[in-house]
Amino acid sequence: MEHAYYFWWALLWIIGWGAVGGIVTPRIYSKKDLDVSQAALAGTAIGAAGGPFALAPLWYLTPRLNWKWVVVPGVVILAIFAASFAAADPNNLCVTNGPFVATQVTNGLIVGIIYGLMALGLTLIFSIVGIVSFAHGEFYMIGGMAVYYFTVVWFPGMSPFWGILLAAALTFALGAAFELLFLRVMNTGKVERPDEYAILVTFGLSFFLQYFTLALVGANPKKVQRFLDFPAFGLPSANHPTVLKVTSSTVNLFNTISISSPRLTAALMSLVLLGLLLWFLQKTWLGKALRAVSQDRAAAVTGINPDTMNTLAFGIGTMLAGLAGAALVQVFSWVPWVGTLASARGFVIIVLGGMGSLPGAFIGGLIVGVVEALGAGCVPDPQRAAAYIPAYGMVILTLVLLLKPTGLFGREL
């Protein structure tokens, strides 16, 4: 960073005026006896975007606030952020090299789809069972491990399709069994403080599963061959692949954006699974019953047993995590503690998207994927950039919890 101070001053400006706007605006709105529900968030956004120049007219005119008063300043903040970054570090790849940025964003979106799949499981569990599972990443890890052991160790040559199916079955069974043994007791009223019990017991499960796997399989990284070898071809023609060039290991768009094929396979697989999940929830009787329970626990009167639905939902949730792991095991090397980061990422995504919101989880996944890809690609000093990867999501998490705990699509708390 040549002129790092540009960036830090801009950041300080954003945070400082954001805080001022967030604290003062609701007071002014309540003093003028206006609706204050959006005042804190919009005040923060407007303050951060325009500083005193935007806050003064806002406080003077106090217009009726809606989501536009958050989105527009949000875009301005992003622009200030990007501009100050470009000014601070004009030689950065992210500033000079458009194709690099495009590749990063595309890869972020593609990984984001898979993150979304995993977070979908977490949010499904939250919306039906009513708890945040702190062991979600461990099911993701087990999904990947299962694919490795089924297709590489125990039955070499087994088609990845069957490996994935077995991994799904295993994670479903584990999740459902855990729900039966440890979470069902919460519905009986015998647990004094169910919320805290659920946090601690799933936390204990995460600890147990991680070290149990470590004890069984050891700490050596596991690697799975890519599931699918793409046929080589090009568009418009194989000799001049200016639009699309596919080789067995990468896919290249417009000669600029390059995506590794295992990632693309995983993303496509996730999209198919998402489709299946939506079909299941919208069209099947069981799916409708699940949604009914997530709306209203008293759905029991209509012949649905909420206890069974809880078990089912927890099983499906953990299965989705297992499937995300099964999809990604061909992309990353797999160790028993991959779940820790995955868990953390899942929390970020569901909080960002809004706890219990399915579309929120998907869009949150995309956002987190892109932010991580840009963070890893753009922060100067690659070693630091890589070290900070887990922190990008956590910064999002803390900001969302402070500014809008309901997330993008969450129900009111």
Binding site: I131, V132, F134, L181, F182, V185, V191, E192, R193, D195, E196, Y197, A198, I199, L200, V201, F203, G204, L205, S206, F207, F208, L209, Y211, F212, L214, A215, T340, A344, F347, V348, V351, Q383, R384, A387, Y388, P390, A391, M394, V395, L397, T398, L401, L402, P405
Partner: protein, 389 residues
């Protein structure tokens, strides 16, 4: 009442046992080492039980405060010196005959360069560890205040997620800012007593386990004393009422914001002080102490000991730390080698879950309650009989 005499007797007896134990164990440095680490975990587990069990704030960021304490004293030792002459290059604050020299974090070591400006015979002192420990505790309290204010509105799962996020950010920053913290290799610290201890005609080398044993024991007893006093005073009463029902407590005149923030500040300070002492004792601190594993261990200790009992959590921590160490040895059955370093953790994970499921108040706490509440129960039974009769 005879029962309160029992409690006093047990407390004094237990304390004496811990104070006098080194007489017997001094020749076994390994046991002494485990005992020191056990006290360290006992402080963390009991302070977490005050935060989570008493006040109902299930924070997963406790180890982050511990690390803040440890790194504060580590960085204080790394970057701050006292000299008898100014360097004219570094940032320095004159203090009478001395100069407090703050070395620049990035760039060259200004103290080395500044030696050219110093007269021959200039003395350069590292500052004593106890200053760093106090600084560490204060920094822990400061961050506790910050986090306590930020999480005021968050409940249950949201609080847990926020504190995990905080802890991860601290860990990642410590890992990434290599120039400041030395990154994953860890920050080296001076021993608690760099020149050893000479007292009453006895001499102890800096590596001797006896002085750090007593320092950690003192911190343990001190923090237990403070926390116990808090728990039986109005503070304990109020934070428990907040745990039970915030709105009802507020309607009865309890200043909930003050006590929620205060409990974060106090437990963070205690955790930070423990971290600072432990870091000086071990001699190196790495960001890995912030791994979820460490937090899980503290939680397991507190839950198995008894979440709503400071003493239960502390005893649980001491027993589990010793158990963890003695279960370390791997063994072989036939051709299979069982790697106990991992399996013992599996075992404690399982124990944690089973304790939560079947013995909500932990394994140690009910035993303590048997002694302390036995009389109360009889008294109540008698009164109930009288009321019925």
């Amino acid at each position: 009442m005879s029962q309160s005499k029992w409690i006093w007797g047990l407390t004094i007896g237990g304390t004496l046992l811990l104070v006098l134990a080194p007489l017997k164990l001094q020749s076994q440095p390994y046991i002494m080492h485990i005992a020191i680490v056990a006290f360290f975990y006992a402080i963390l587990a009991s302070s977490w039980s005050l935060l989570a069990g008493y006040a109902g704030q299930f924070s997963f960021g406790h180890m982050a405060f511990m690390a803040i304490g440890a790194y504060s004293t580590g960085l204080y030792g790394k970057f701050v010196r006292l000299t008898t002459a100014p360097t004219h290059i570094c940032k320095e604050i004159p203090l009478g005959k001395y100069w407090l020299v703050i070395m620049n974090i990035y760039g060259n070591n200004c103290l080395e360069a500044g030696k050219a400006n110093m007269p021959v015979g200039t003395l350069i002192y590292r500052l004593p560890a106890f200053q760093g420990i106090i600084l560490g505790a204060l920094m822990g309290g400061l961050f506790g205040l910050l986090v306590g204010v930020l999480v005021l509105r968050l409940r249950a799962a949201y609080l847990a997620l926020f504190t995990i996020g905080f802890s991860e950010i601290v860990r990642v920053a410590l890992n990434a800012e290599i120039k400041v913290t030395d990154g994953p290799n860890g920050l080296e610290l001076a021993p608690l007593f760099p020149r050893g201890v000479h007292i009453l005609g006895y001499s102890f080398a800096p590596t001797d386990k006896l002085p750090p044993y007593y320092v950690m024991l003192l911190l343990f007893l001190l923090s237990m004393g403070i926390m116990h006093w808090l728990s039986i005073s109005r503070f304990g009463l109020f934070i428990r009422s907040i745990r039970e029902d915030e709105e009802a407590a507020a309607a009865l005149g309890v200043h909930i914001i003050r006590y929620k923030v205060l409990v974060f500040v106090i437990t963070s300070m205690i955790a930070a002080a423990a971290g600072a002492v432990e870091a000086h004792y071990i001699g190196v601190i790495t960001p890995n102490i912030l791994l979820i594993l460490q937090m899980s261990l503290v939680i397991a200790m507190a839950v198995i000991g008894g979440l709503e009992s400071l003493l239960g959590a502390a005893i649980g921590a001491i027993i589990i730390e010793f158990a963890l160490e003695f279960l370390r040895t791997s063994f072989t059955i036939g051709s299979v080698t069982v790697d106990m370093t991992t399996w013992r953790l599996v075992f404690f994970g399982l124990l944690l879950m089973i304790t939560l499921r079947f013995w909500t108040s932990g394994l140690i706490h009910p035993l303590i309650q048997r002694v302390t509440r036995a009389g109360v129960a009889e008294e109540t039974v008698a009164k109930r009989k009288a009321a019925e009769g």
